[in-house]
Subunit: 135 residues, 4 copies
């Protein structure tokens, strides 16, 4: 399906004492790409709850680290919905550097929770269509 992406420079405070980007930040970069995806789909993350009455908590994260990133690098994080979402939204994610080299790749799984009952629900139909038609 469609691949969404966002590009940003490595920030000094994201480096650690090995002089490379701390691994936890790739999990944040993944989120940046998902936020951009929602923005591109016309449904900013912060509006989804009000519009569809659901939260999308993170169920699991997997990340494989392939190559370090350093201060001075410009990174692009991508997000791609793997298949039409039912009870879960599965997003394939990558982070590549300015030379197109893969720094990290992984998968993030999100659920849908009704904000009134706090119980898991299936992906709301309109949201399903948004994800499958446009992405």
């Amino acid at each position: 399906m469609r691949v969404f992406q966002t590009t940003f420079p490595v920030r000094y405070y994201e480096t650690d004492k090995m002089a490379v980007v701390h691994h936890s930040n790739y999990i944040r970069y993944f989120e940046n790409a998902r936020s951009q995806m929602m923005l591109d789909l016309g449904l900013p993350v912060e509006k989804m709850e009000d519009k569809y009455g659901v939260f999308c908590p993170i169920v699991s994260v997997t990340c494989h680290f392939k190559r370090v990133a350093r201060m001075g690098d410009t990174l692009t994080a991508t997000a791609e919905i793997v298949r039409p979402p039912l009870a879960k939204l599965i997003v394939r994610q990558t982070v590549v550097n300015q030379d197109g080299e893969l720094c990290a790749e992984g998968e993030v799984v999100l659920g849908f929770i009704d904000r009134n009952t706090f119980r898991p629900v299936r992906c709301p139909e309109e949201l399903y269509e948004l994800f499958t038609d446009k992405s």
Copy 2:
């Protein structure tokens, strides 16, 4: 007045490519000491809003950096209310290492906002008493 404190190890992800704690983290350490202060006063931060109907936004932060901290160091952050709070709560803050050496010192000023009107208010009387009697 009374000095409140909390002790914690430097975390790997708090170091930066200079192999020292990134300066922004001292602002977070200051907050840790204020959270401990509220806990010691019997009023955890997350309960204050419900109990007194006020938020305490940060108005300003000043921090002077005196000595670097590194992975392996154990730091103690302190908070001391400078004078009885009226419209503002002024907190003197420090971070010292395991050898008692001063790493950072500064001052954080907080305001009081009514959570219904979103307007600045004076420090609620009970809160004032809590700060002045116990601290």
Copy 3:
């Protein structure tokens, strides 16, 4: 094998606009437990490179999120080496709250890189013994 652990309060800056700990922080909590493991084994992370001439980069991270944590919670992160390390060090990790409820669990895989050649190496023998005898 032996389970290493470290306990710490949720920090205000670790919460996000859902009023729960942001999921990326569990990856950091996992690291805190591994740092404690190394400390308990008598080999602080920041000394390992000098002593054994190896780096231990993160190869992959998997984390399953089970229950949210909030401001006011006290969390314990654990680390347990799954089997004697050869080319890889596999660490099973959890985060539980003050009521013993599981918040997150996962697995972190680390490699060994010679700091002179920057090539992957097997776990140095002394380090192997440290991990298998004491842990």
Copy 4:
């Protein structure tokens, strides 16, 4: 003098349980603007040490918070050198939102440390010229 700037969206993980950007992040935004300044001056932060043999540690930070920022906001951080640097580099900093409203303003003071002697030095002459000619 010349005002340098960089623009970026608020990131979800930068918000806190009040649903606004955590105050510590403005200190990081200030740094982003200084990194951009160095880049625009042709001297990326990570190259300065090698080229001029000096570190620039943060001496102090002051930040006044004027208006909250939220998820969905796009922020611009600015950096302006206040006067030609001698022993200290004084940088005036702001963060404004997409409507031009001031969210935070402050001042960051940096020193110059010789990387061999670890002693404070005056601003290297070439660096002085770079700051005063181009900025």
